[in-house]
Symmetry: D2
Subunit: 142 residues, 4 copies
């Protein structure tokens, strides 16, 4: 399973009146980490979107362990957990870089659909290079 670490700084507008990052933003950071994963793996989100494919989210889950706040540097470890040729699952660990403290863990699942019809596609047939790359990423050791 391949893993990358995406880093970010928590923004002012991502905090809420509790003086912590609003929990919905972790869901967004996981998406940013996925985008980074595809970048690093060698096939960008914009590439499959330009090929007329989108990758809707089927499910998300997130467990909140410790708060983070404005200007915290956060590392998001993103791991490709599963890839079936039709669906893909990532897991995430969000860590406060200064302290090593785990902020949150999460998991998201996605399918691949035709951008126009909305129907599921077979990735191997429609995007063979992407398919090979994901299979390779899955099998490689961390």
């Amino acid at each position: 399973m391949k893993e990358y670490t995406y880093t970010l700084r928590a923004k002012y507008y991502e905090t809420d009146k509790m003086n912590v990052v609003h929990h919905s933003n972790y869901i967004r950071w996981m998406e940013d980490a996925r985008t980074y994963f595809f970048d690093k793996a060698g096939y960008k989100v914009v590439q499959y979107e330009q090929a007329g494919v989108t990758s809707p989210v089927i499910s998300v889950e997130c467990e909140y362990k410790n708060p983070s706040t404005f200007d915290d540097e956060i590392g998001v470890d993103v791991v490709l957990e599963k890839y079936t040729g039709a669906r893909i699952t990532f897991s995430y660990v969000l860590t406060k870089i200064a302290t090593g403290e785990i902020v949150a863990t999460g998991k998201t699942s996605h399918c691949f659909t035709d951008a126009v019809t909305g129907l599921p596609i077979a990735v191997k047939k429609r995007l063979p290079v992407f398919d090979a790359l994901l299979k390779d990423a899955l099998n490689r050791e961390i």
Copy 2:
């Protein structure tokens, strides 16, 4: 000039660590008030979008007078200030309903473009009913 009042409640995730609504959200509330204006005026945003027209923002300005925070009920008075057939300008006054206190004032300008080409359109030619309605709204007394 026609005026409507859109009302909303400030959301938890719209606040920031200063315990006030983040200033970027007032820009969003002005957009919600425009959507409401078009609804009430009788020609919805989704209608001109379904006709292949979009209305990009050309400029926004906002002056922040008093803070608002979570759960505040806010009234956004939205006034159609100007309509040229190609461009449209709205002004806004945001008020805390419980106290009457002015939270912010703003102004936005927009053009109308073809959703596919991105080129400016003549509203009168492309959307004559919408054009007539906007002219009528402009001339009517508040």
Copy 3:
């Protein structure tokens, strides 16, 4: 178990380039529905916050069933699933009102903490009226 239905309209800025509401916003709508639940149940979020108590999110999960987009009217059924005196769990069903189609389902869990120390509180001791109200809401039939 008590249930309320919070209704909203999807905002322009909540959509993304796929022409659907971005999945992170469903997490926010669930929070809005919780706020509405507390309003209707008779003890507002601002009340327990003014009493120095906050209710951090421990976990969220969301399954995405069908897309929604700008201007869709959405109903969020929110059910109090569990309340232990220290923790609380809500479940949600989000429905497109025009069609009855289910957009998403979700679940969130929360604890109650002192706003200053961040330590867990016993709701019964600190907020006895709120505690009684939640127990009552839990036991009442829908």
Copy 4:
């Protein structure tokens, strides 16, 4: 007048159904660029906040020149335009890095207040190092 360039990548959730970055996010990017400015100038936002000072926004304006979209790399040139000891003004030019195309220009003004009382403070008296640094930044050539 001192200038820095903050760079960012447009996020998926920052786009809207027009397939462009929603105009409200430029207001947020300007804030991120200010945070970067203070970082680079040697006095972080968290420093003056830890000293009990906040810097509310008094006004924003933004002119939208060309759209940007998901994954675009954007440079935000941020210039300290004015500093009076009580108020501060920044101007911004947002550019698509790949093409050099100007995406938007903007201006924001801010005051400095005590975080508890909300009353204006004299920066020179309360934060003399910060005051000296801002004066220095203002006088330095770009």
